[in-house]
Symmetry: C2
Subunit: 349 residues, 2 copies
């Protein structure tokens, strides 16, 4: 028998945030691909598009008109997945047919009036403004009596189901704490109760020591490829100090967050020299009025591309039925990301 080598041999890794295993197959990355390829032609977008329902001054689907905004602009989603109305409901659940109404608010956050921008191409100060709005929104929505969780996220790129290229993110705020957040919270809590410390604080300490999965670092934040990452170039931004949620960040910390988001998304764009698609979002303490010393602010980036701008990782048959699976190792991905420039390829010439 040869000795186990995580760069060569199939193996499983444990994700302590979700309490589940993933399958890693480093030997599989050179299989031939005759399957679906993604459109990669990147049209140059205009700064203003009269057909875009997110651009300033334009009419939206419900007949409302956007103001002539500059910078960040927030409004209630016209086709939200949640409604804020209270409905009458009598519990009538059985083992198999448990159902309950869910109240909430969906908002859209335009990051800029400029239709052609994306986060990596925005100025650090402009990204800081987005973060200010995340903070305000988390505060405002989270203070409502019927809102116990505020999910802030961005779907970027058509391949991630984004229906409009105008730079924007979303907020889904709701009464219940969603499935994946409950799981994460349970695991953070178990660790906190056992050790009196934050799981992510202790994890980060080790990662800073090892270095092999580190991508970026500044005063207040770190970007790394988690040991248990499932998407090819998945990363996580973690605050160095244990902040439970975005309200705890100072002005300086918000600038540091803006900087690291800018540098990370520039690296992503530079990877295949395209506007790099991903879903990203913040995990932080719920707004349920309970104290949550276990929570530690972090932001996940889940980008689907695998080999190049055209071939993505499909989480399908085996992954849906059995377990998440990846080909290149997290260490290989971190190495690639670490070595990429933080100067955007478009501004290089």
């Amino acid at each position: 028998n040869v000795a186990f080598d995580s760069k060569k041999h199939p193996h499983r890794r444990y994700n302590p945030l979700l309490d589940e295993w993933i399958l890693v197959s480093p030997q599989r990355s050179n299989r031939p691909w005759q399957g679906q390829t993604e459109k990669t032609v990147q049209e140059e977008l205009p700064a203003y598009d009269s057909g875009c329902y997110l651009c300033p001054g334009n009419e939206r689907a419900n007949g409302e008109k956007n103001p002539d905004y500059k910078g960040v602009y927030v409004f209630d989603n016209d086709f939200g997945s949640l409604l804020s109305d209270k409905v009458d409901f009598s519990v009538n659940n059985s083992d198999f047919f448990s159902i309950k109404p869910e109240r909430g608010i969906n908002r859209v956050i335009c990051f800029s009036e400029n239709h052609s921008l994306t986060l990596p191409e925005m100025e650090k100060d402009a990204i800081k403004e987005v973060i200010d709005v995340w903070q305000q929104q988390y505060d405002e929505l989270g203070s409502k009596e019927f809102i116990n969780h505020v999910q802030i996220f961005e779907n970027k790129g058509q391949i991630m189901g984004c229906s409009n290229p105008h730079p924007h993110g979303q907020i889904w705020a709701q009464s219940s704490i969603p499935t994946a957040v409950v799981k994460t919270q349970e695991n953070l809590k178990n660790y906190f109760e056992k050790s009196g410390r934050s799981l992510l604080e202790d994890y980060l300490k080790k990662e800073l020591e090892y270095g092999e999965r580190m991508v970026l670092e500044n005063e207040s934040f770190v970007v790394l490829v988690p040991f248990w990452a499932v998407w090819p170039y998945e990363t996580m931004i973690i605050s160095k100090r244990k902040a439970g949620n975005i309200l705890e960040f100072s002005e300086d910390e918000k600038y540091d967050l803006a900087e690291i988001i800018k540098d990370l998304t520039i690296k992503y764009d530079n990877l295949f020299e395209i506007s790099f698609p991903y879903s990203a979002g913040i995990h932080q303490s719920p707004t349920d009025g309970i104290s949550h010393p276990e929570w530690h602010f972090h932001m996940h980036f889940y980008p689907p591309l695998l080999r190049n701008a055209e071939v993505k990782k499909f989480m399908v048959g085996y992954e849906m039925l059995a377990e998440a699976q990846r080909d290149i190792t997290p260490e290989q991905s971190a190495e690639v990301l670490k070595n990429l420039s933080t100067i955007h390829y478009k501004s290089r010439n």
Copy 2:
């Protein structure tokens, strides 16, 4: 306040197989879509394609040549995610860096020598042959000392990451029981230990009574849209009697399974009059040598299309970070599927 109506109001439903909630937004189905559309042009495929590495007589990527097979043909995947070699490994795990080697075998199952076919277009007897091979493979692989779980599945269609249209499925057999199977097993087991009965047997009894999520039924099997389905037209085949795995099925039951797979996949093709993409796979007892009275054979179908042949449901931002979400209700989907013909649209004229 108005009274709660599951056809109109956002709500959450509980999935007892995975012990998690999903979000249902029936009011959201008519939002406008300007996002990605899928290729729908269906080329007529030839019965034999000299460039296809799955067709009889052709050479594969590793230089081996396929035999001149007729019917079903099985071989080891040339670019598997698992290797069967044993490696030396000393446990060296910590809270954050748990890793262990994983052994296994990946196989490809060509359903037919005919490059242009798919399950709904195959004869019932030919589908029965596929089921015979599933049975043999589960038996053969499951009997190996280092194989404790045999995952049988099919990715159909480019949109599901399928890299070759030649009709085929896969088997990933491995030492560990994968994440989603462990979860399902835990929930089946809790129920069995509490009640002495199969969760799915009791669930099925209720669904047969209510009728509103039923799609198909024969002597031995039922197809329904689970109360907690997340994909727009997700279905589940459940055996009427509690069989723990495919080895327990008689010849008659295998014919019944072939029939209901054929009828279900014909309905799927008829839905948008295209070859309907999905990932499908069997959940059944692990082959770990332990008795599993809690298990009850079922097969999941996870199809991504939502509104028409071009617009799929994206499980992205909110879904990745927070919770699975659907627009139309499971009852609406069941109604649509129930009313579709079991005569394939191509053979109608």
